[in-house]
């Protein structure tokens, strides 16, 4: 079902001034086919049944909404964690890939392509391709292939063909370019499963809808646990912005809910090594979307940096560019060190090792003051298995004295 409102895209895919489909004509038929067909497919009874059953029986939804008691005491408020880390494959990414693989089958596509940075979306895509018996090709920057060996091995075991990308800076941005080029060269039989609320219209809207199951469940769970259907705050990390879009979705028009989007400040906002797109970026075009992006004055897209591979994307989904610009969301920047601290704090207080991306959202709790009776939801987008090397290497910070 289509939602209307100030924070929903118009029929050309614009959120305020952001979005659209800035694509070469070679890509137009692919994108047009998707745009023309996706809504009627995903609104159909058959699709909805298969999607919700797969999320329930295969992914393990609904994910719990957990009142983190010790963390709440620590911050003097009520902190609920939406446990996307408990999904199959360990993050929210699979909500989207399940939706898109069912869609791809309805579209009659035989071949699936995807980009990946840290490998989380690559693993989630390879997983649903195995489930559906479809051929899967994952583009991954050559540098990331080296850095993310465990996920590379998972994708291979799942039967995906991994194609290292050697163009540009050899990271996520370049992997996305290469996936788009593949789609240009294979216009008929291929579906591109993009990994976040980015890319040309209708991707940002479509991916947000698949992820919206997060806030749909939250509403029900909140009224059971707190007696109200909405929280005071939702905090989520933003790379491209898919977990945040899903966590915000059903609350976008309720301005009593404060939305806090957390971006990676890397080594600091002034260091030249960050991924703080909403703060440091300017308007431009990336991967077919008009949005905020990190670029130099000549309009060349620059390479972002974050300790978290899932947050170092030089753009941000057009929805988030608009939420920030219109004042609907507040953007907070968190450095590598702050994120690491927050990861340890959660681990020691609640026995949950979060993904490095999620650790950024948790660190925002430090920066905000809450009233005792506030209800704060942190979207716990993923678990930390993939980040154990980074955590061990940085386990010099002693937080035990906090």
């Amino acid at each position: 079902m289509k939602h209307k409102g100030k924070f929903r895209a118009d029929e050309k895919g614009y959120y305020g001034p952001y979005g659209g489909a800035y694509i070469p004509e070679m890509l137009y038929p692919n994108v047009k086919e998707l745009e023309d067909k996706y809504e009627s497919i995903i609104d159909s009874e058959a699709f909805r049944k298969e999607f919700s059953e797969t999320l329930r029986d295969y992914v393990g939804r609904p994910t719990p909404l957990y009142l983190a008691k010790r963390l709440s005491d620590h911050y003097g408020t009520n902190i609920y964690l939406k446990r996307e880390d408990l999904n199959h494959t360990g993050a929210h990414k699979i909500n989207n890939t399940v939706g898109q693989i069912i869609l791809a089958r309805h579209l009659g596509k035989k071949r699936i392509i995807a980009e990946t940075g840290a490998g989380q979306h690559g693993v989630a895509t390879a997983t649903v391709c195995a489930l559906a018996g479809l051929k899967c090709i994952v583009y991954m920057g050559a540098l990331d292939v080296e850095r993310q060996a465990p996920n590379v091995r998972k994708m291979e075991m799942l039967g995906a063909e991994l194609r290292p990308v050697h163009s540009g800076n050899k990271t996520l941005k370049d992997a996305t370019n290469e996936a788009i080029r593949d789609w240009i060269n294979n216009p008929v039989d291929t579906h591109y499963i993009i990994g976040s609320v980015v890319g040309p219209h209708p991707y940002p809207t479509m991916v947000a809808r698949f992820q919206s199951v997060i806030s749909e469940e939250m509403k029900v769970q909140l009224s059971e646990k707190t007696g109200r259907e909405f929280p005071d705050y939702i905090i989520a990390c933003v790379g491209g912005g898919s977990n945040a879009a899903g966590a915000y979705y059903h609350f976008l028009d309720n301005e009593a809910v404060k939305l806090i989007s957390v971006e990676a400040a890397g080594k600091g906002l002034d260091s030249g090594m960050s991924a703080a797109t909403s703060t440091l970026g300017t308007d431009g075009i990336i991967h077919g979307s008009k949005t905020l992006l990190m670029q130099d004055e000549d309009g060349q897209i620059t390479e972002p940096y974050s300790i978290s591979a899932g947050l170092d994307y030089p753009g941000v989904g057009p929805l988030h560019a608009w939420l920030g610009k219109s004042g609907r969301s507040e953007v907070i920047n968190i450095t590598d060190d702050e994120a690491l601290k927050a990861a340890y704090l959660l681990t020691r207080m609640e026995g949950i090792i979060p993904a490095m991306e999620t650790a950024h959202a948790l660190a925002a709790l430090e920066k905000q003051s809450f009233a005792r009776e506030d209800v704060v939801v942190v979207n716990l987008s993923g678990r930390g298995d993939k980040d154990m090397d980074a955590y061990s290497n940085n386990l010099r910070n002693d937080i035990s004295n906090e």
């Binding site: 800035y22 038929p29 163009s167 370049d174 080029r181 431009g284 000549d298």
Partner: protein, 261 residues
């Protein structure tokens, strides 16, 4: 009169247009290559403005763009290099590149600089039809600069007509569903697509590009359109060539395309 229009008025067929990347192989080669192409008998030139993320390009043009950026090329510098180009070069010049650098430069300033230098047309593949019509068209028309649009084998007939209506100078007929320089040669299926376009009696002239790399493919393309565009094959021939070698390589390349057997 716009030089592209003048060209198609004067010459109906066998028009050869070459694509080059500005600032490649060396930063200061831009003007020299343009002059050499003209003296070698090329009819029109597309000057590529390098971009960090050229979505529609295959490896050859990607690498030349990256090299050019490493050499220090920018849009500002390109306009400086081209400042006096009309003192020596007469053939139509087209700038080709992606929207983001143009947006950052400022679209108004970009168009006025193009006009001042004597640029005749633009190809910006990621500028969508709708946005072009609403936000840009009148600015280009006012300054006498053509926006050249692309169609592909996947473009529907209805849309081809819509694009042809808006395309200035000529219609860029992309030969295959591909990025640049990926596929070479012309397959049977493409011939029937060319034939269909030819029979549509489109008012603007047509140039075929993508996959045109030698005399044979050039001739084939020319039998279905007013001419053809060569990019990757030319860029490939330039890589690793130093100043003194440029003239020989360029003349030999153009000659090889023009030779009839």
């Amino acid at each position: 009169m716009n030089r592209i229009d003048a060209l198609f008025n004067r010459k109906k067929g066998d028009i050869l247009s070459l694509y080059m990347t500005a600032g490649f192989p060396e930063l200061d080669d831009t003007v020299r290559i343009i002059s050499l192409l003209e003296s070698a008998g090329v009819d029109m030139i597309e000057i590529g403005m390098p971009f960090s993320d050229p979505l529609a390009d295959g490896p050859v043009i990607q690498e030349s763009s990256q090299r050019s950026l490493e050499n220090g090329m920018s849009l500002k510098l390109l306009f400086e290099q081209l400042k006096d180009i009309r003192k020596s070069v007469e053939i139509p010049l087209i700038l080709m590149g992606y929207l983001n650098p143009v947006m950052q430069y400022g679209i108004e300033k970009f168009v006025s600089d193009c006009k001042e230098i004597g640029i005749d047309g633009l190809i910006i593949p990621d500028l969508p039809l709708h946005e072009f019509r609403v936000d840009y068209k009148s600015l280009f028309d006012k300054n006498g600069i053509h926006m050249i649009m692309l169609i592909t084998p996947q473009t529907t007939q209805e849309r081809i007509l819509e694009i042809a209506e808006l395309s200035g100078g000529f219609l860029y007929v992309v030969a295959d569903s591909s990025t640049t320089g990926v596929k070479s040669g012309i397959a049977e299926a493409q011939l029937s697509y060319f034939k269909m376009i030819k029979e549509m009696e489109i008012k603007v002239p047509r140039m075929i590009g993508f996959g045109i790399s030698d005399a044979e493919t050039f001739q084939t393309a020319c039998s279905y359109a007013n001419g053809a565009i060569i990019g990757s094959a030319f860029i490939k021939s330039l890589s690793g060539i130093k100043d003194s070698g440029l003239e020989t390589v360029i003349h030999r390349f153009v000659h090889s395309i023009r030779s009839t057997n």
